[in-house]
């Protein structure tokens, strides 16, 4: 008989985090994606990252658009809040939710189709506003849900399942984000959790918009020979340019960890992200340097991965809009809606 859900049975020596939860408590319902889909591995990495960061599931909002990738919020953190928006509109929903309640952790999951075609304008503005969220693009080079048409991230020369080649140049979300002034840009591969989990943790702890572009092979429509987004091709072309380690709050930084060519960046919550460049001279805090390095790699046919760029002292939309410290949802009605008299006075300023 086929299983309708993952059975409740657990490893008896499963670890619990400080909230008393096990990693299994961070799962969602059973995936309905194709067996072997890269998106499922990203889901598993999210489960692990949220568990290890000891985040309370009910203080998380999961947001997505339309696509196989956008279905995945159903498969992790079953106790979190969620909003499955129309195609490409997730960034504005996230921006609104974050404006109303800045106390939550926001995770947006989107696809290359959802983000780079119909939702491209939305994505640009979320980057520009530096909305405090982790935005994951599960990038498979196709519209998986609608049966494998090339998406805007498809490389020139990549072949569709039936053999036709893509001729249009791709939009690279990493280059796009860097040029739009994104404060955190990372690239990963669903098949490498060792790299992906720390990237997710760093992105979740980043104050501002963290963009993670994750190559996530579509087993059904884009995992054949000739595809540049297959498991095999990605494994053959991935080049880690910087190793990332995430050190949670309260974790003592030992001499060994701080030594050598390791750079540490303190996050606003007290945690630390550390880098060790794999590519000689790579500096993830140098936007221009990062941009040109990645462009060179791309020209050489390589896929540069790791935490590619991070802005020290990033300021999110709440800081530069100077909004109240508290979440709007926590304000009393009187404070939130101070009445006609105050409104009149406010409007007087602009007369």
């Amino acid at each position: 008989m086929a299983q309708t859900g993952k059975p409740s049975v657990r490893h008896p020596s499963l670890k619990v985090n400080k909230l008393g939860l096990t990693q299994r408590d961070y799962e969602g319902s059973m995936s309905t994606l194709c067996a072997g889909c890269g998106h499922d591995s990203i889901t598993a990495s999210l489960v692990q990252a949220f568990f290890e960061l000891e985040i309370e599931p009910h203080k998380v909002a999961k947001l997505s658009g339309i696509g196989c990738s956008s279905k995945t919020p159903a498969y992790f953190l079953k106790e979190a809040h969620g909003f499955n928006s129309v195609h490409g509109r997730m960034p504005s929903i996230a921006t609104g939710a974050n404006a109303a309640n800045r106390g939550m952790t926001y995770i947006g999951v989107s696809g290359d189709g959802d983000s780079l075609s119909i939702g491209l304008g939305q994505l640009c503005h979320a980057i520009r506003r530096n909305v405090d969220m982790l935005y994951i693009i599960e990038n498979n080079g196709v519209y998986g849900l609608t049966k494998g048409q090339f998406s805007a991230s498809a490389d020139v020369g990549t072949k569709a399942k039936k053999g036709e080649e893509n001729r249009m140049g791709p939009i690279d979300p990493v280059a796009l984000a860097l040029s739009l002034g994104a404060s955190f840009v990372g690239k990963g591969f669903s098949g490498d959790k060792q790299q992906l989990v720390p990237l997710i943790k760093a992105g979740l702890s980043h104050k501002g918009f963290a963009l993670l572009d994750v190559i996530s092979p579509c087993v059904t429509f884009n995992d054949h020979q000739g595809s540049t987004k297959s498991y095999q091709y990605t494994r053959d072309h991935v080049q880690e340019v910087v190793e990332t380690d995430f050190v949670p709050v309260l974790h003592e930084i030992t001499a060994e960890q701080a030594s050598g060519d390791v750079t540490s960046v303190a996050m606003h919550d007290g945690s630390v992200v550390k880098f060790r460049p794999v590519a000689e001279g790579y500096d993830p805090t140098d936007r221009d340097g990062a941009y040109s390095h990645i462009a060179t790699r791309q020209a050489a046919g390589e896929v540069a991965t790791g935490l590619l760029y991070i802005e020290k002292g990033s300021q999110d939309v709440h800081s530069f809009e100077n909004t109240v410290e508290e979440s709007l949802v926590d304000l009393d009605f009187e404070e939130l809606c101070p009445g006609n008299q105050i409104l009149q006075e406010l409007q007087k300023q602009w007369r």
């Binding site: 008989m1 086929a2 049975v9 499922d40 598993a44």
Partner: protein, 605 residues
């Protein structure tokens, strides 16, 4: 580590913990599935092939399979394997036409079997269908050995014994009742037999030689002799206050029997504390349910007599501590007299072979035990074999059965002039259970139900007669739940490395974190860095060939796999498959391949 060789039957056999733990290698999950399908007769016959006495064992087996059951590691309680066996036996249809039948033309070989216990009966069961003529010599007037004379009828009804023993005897076994063999020499001298099997058990109860033993003899009984006397109606009653010395299986049957023939205040007295008791937890539970009191840390020092008759026993109250070598030593704290009318000694059994001459080529060791080869069951005299409790001391029925199977193979080889040392090999079949994209031929869902509790006849009713069977057996509802608790450990996860694209789907979906794709290393070091640390070193790691894309390996920790099939369901390339493992067990005269063909035809008929 080297890739695992799954072509050896041992690897997958070990994954089926219950079958691995069963001395006779009964295919437990397969018979449980047959029960689940309502195919009780098939389930019974499958059982019978390996354990010969499903009805008897379904009530009395020592069940080494249950502590071995995977379910114990996943939660606390094993599948009620033993009691499900009884369900198959209770609900089966007529099996007469399915039983092996002896050929009318005999092979001309005659075998003498001494003792009519389960060991000898199994030898006869295996040899009769091959054309051997078996003669059993039994000193008592009934068959079954200790199963009949010592296991009380309230645990094992006579009809169940009769029915299953008759299946064997009715193949034409000649039984000489009331025929003790008091000289092996003279039996051998008759020259009537081509081989002799000694299945005489361990018939001597241990003595307790402390002051007052002789004087109190009239009210001091040896457990196994006493149970036998009760069985033959030679003893019909016992005093009100009874002390049972010892806390093993025999003690449990003695105390519960006492309760039924006059004992009111019945105490079982142990020298050590509960963790060291030899009786199984369920036996203790059953005795305590019948208001038997259990005294711990009481070391007997003397029998107390007044006017020449027994009135009590004195005990030292002791405390146990481990010395520097880890051996337990006792410290006496106090002493105490416990009043009683009768004492039953149940402190163990010994073998005794006064009837085997020491100069007929059979070597005896320092403990007066015949030297028996562990593989062939042959003594140092060709053609004389030993099995069951007679071989290496008291065990249990299922071991006696397994000894019987092995001895039968040896006797057959011996009589056919073949080597005894070259044992027929175990074989295996492995068949995919895939029925469709996401469907399997077995119930793969994990059922979280708790173990079903056996219902008992109420206390008043059960004490009315010695023969009232206490356990009622599982009802239909309990059975339906219990069968689903089995994790189908014989449905193996079978891996094909060349197909794997390293998508991680199987690793992500496994509910108990069995799987890891990683770089190869030494076992010790790898056990530490798997998805979940593999701490149970009794359980194997499966190691694949190198994976095509990254040359890493797939590692599976067999420890906690619940055989849910999700890895195979989520695998895009069918690199994982769920395949049914069938252990092909060799029996006398049947190499494994004919065995399997025959098993298949029994099941489908």
């Amino acid at each position: 580590m080297k890739p695992t060789d799954v072509s050896r039957p041992e690897y997958y056999h070990k994954v089926v913990d219950c079958q691995w733990g069963c001395p006779a290698h009964t295919p437990v999950p397969e018979y449980i599935r047959l029960i689940a399908q309502g195919r009780f007769t098939e389930s019974y016959m499958l059982n019978r092939e390996s354990n010969v006495f499903p009805g008897i064992l379904g009530r009395t087996c020592d069940r080494p399979c249950e502590p071995a059951c995977r379910r114990v590691r996943v939660e606390d309680e094993p599948v009620a394997i033993c009691r499900l066996k009884r369900v198959a036996a209770d609900l089966r249809g007529d099996v007469g036409h399915l039983l092996p039948s002896p050929p009318t033309e005999k092979n001309g070989k005659k075998i003498a079997l001494i003792g009519a216990g389960p060991a000898s009966l199994t030898v006869a069961n295996d040899l009769m269908p091959l054309g051997y003529e078996c003669e059993i010599f039994e000193q008592l007037s009934r068959s079954g050995g200790l199963m009949r004379t010592n296991i009380p009828a309230f645990r094992l009804p006579a009809e169940v014994l009769d029915e299953e023993i008759d299946m064997i005897l009715d193949m034409g076994v000649q039984v000489h009742y009331d025929h003790p063999i008091d000289s092996l020499q003279s039996l051998l001298d008759q020259d009537r037999f081509d081989a002799v099997f000694v299945g005489t058990g361990a018939p001597k109860g241990k003595e307790l030689n402390i002051p007052g033993r002789e004087e109190g003899d009239a009210n001091i009984h040896i457990g196994i002799e006493w149970l036998e006397s009760v069985h033959f109606d030679h003893i019909k009653e016992i005093g009100e206050k009874v002390l049972i010395i010892g806390v093993g299986n025999t003690a449990m049957d003695c105390c519960r029997t006492s309760k039924r023939i006059g004992g009111v205040d019945v105490k079982v007295v142990a020298r050590k504390g509960r963790p060291y008791f030899k009786a199984s937890a369920w036996e203790l539970e059953d005795a305590e349910e019948e208001q038997v009191e259990i005294l711990e840390n009481h070391s007997p020092s003397r029998f107390v007599l007044e006017n020449g008759s027994l009135v009590g026993m004195e005990f030292e109250l002791v405390e146990w501590e481990a010395d520097e070598n880890g051996r337990l030593v006792s410290k006496v704290l106090d002493s105490k007299i416990v009043p009683c009318d009768d004492v039953i000694l149940a402190i163990g059994q010994d073998n005794a072979f006064p009837w085997i001459e020491r100069d007929i080529g059979i070597d005896f060791n320092d403990w007066e035990m015949p030297v028996v080869d562990k593989t062939t069951f042959q003594t140092t005299r060709d053609g004389v074999f030993v099995g069951g409790d007679a071989a290496w001391g008291p065990e249990n029925i299922i071991w006696a059965v397994e000894h019987g199977h092995q001895a039968a193979i040896s006797i057959d080889n011996y009589c056919q002039g073949q080597s005894l040392v070259n044992r027929p090999a175990y074989g295996m079949n492995l068949v995919s259970q895939k029925m469709g994209l996401h469907s399997w031929s077995y119930g793969s869902e994990y059922d979280a139900s708790q173990r079903a509790k056996m219902n008992h006849v109420d206390l008043v009713e059960r004490f009315k007669a010695l023969e009232v069977e206490v356990e009622l057996g599982f009802d239909a509802e309990q059975t339906a739940i219990e069968v689903e608790r089995c994790l189908n450990c014989d449905i193996q996860t079978s891996f094909s490395a060349p197909l794997c694209i390293e998508c991680d789907a199987c690793i992500d979906v496994c509910p108990v974190y069995c799987l890891t794709i990683t770089d190869n290393g030494s076992e010790e070091e790898m056990r530490d860095r798997l998805t979940a640390p593999a701490e149970n070193t009794d359980q194997d790691l499966y190691i694949s060939e190198e994976l095509p894309q990254t040359a890493r390996i797939m590692v599976k920790d067999e420890d906690l796999c619940v055989h849910c099939g999700l890895c195979a369901e989520r695998c895009p390339t069918a690199a994982w498959d769920m395949a049914k493992f069938d252990l092909l067990i060799p029996y006398a005269g049947k190499p494994t391949w004919t065995e399997s063909a025959e098993a298949a035809s029994t099941i489908s008929s």
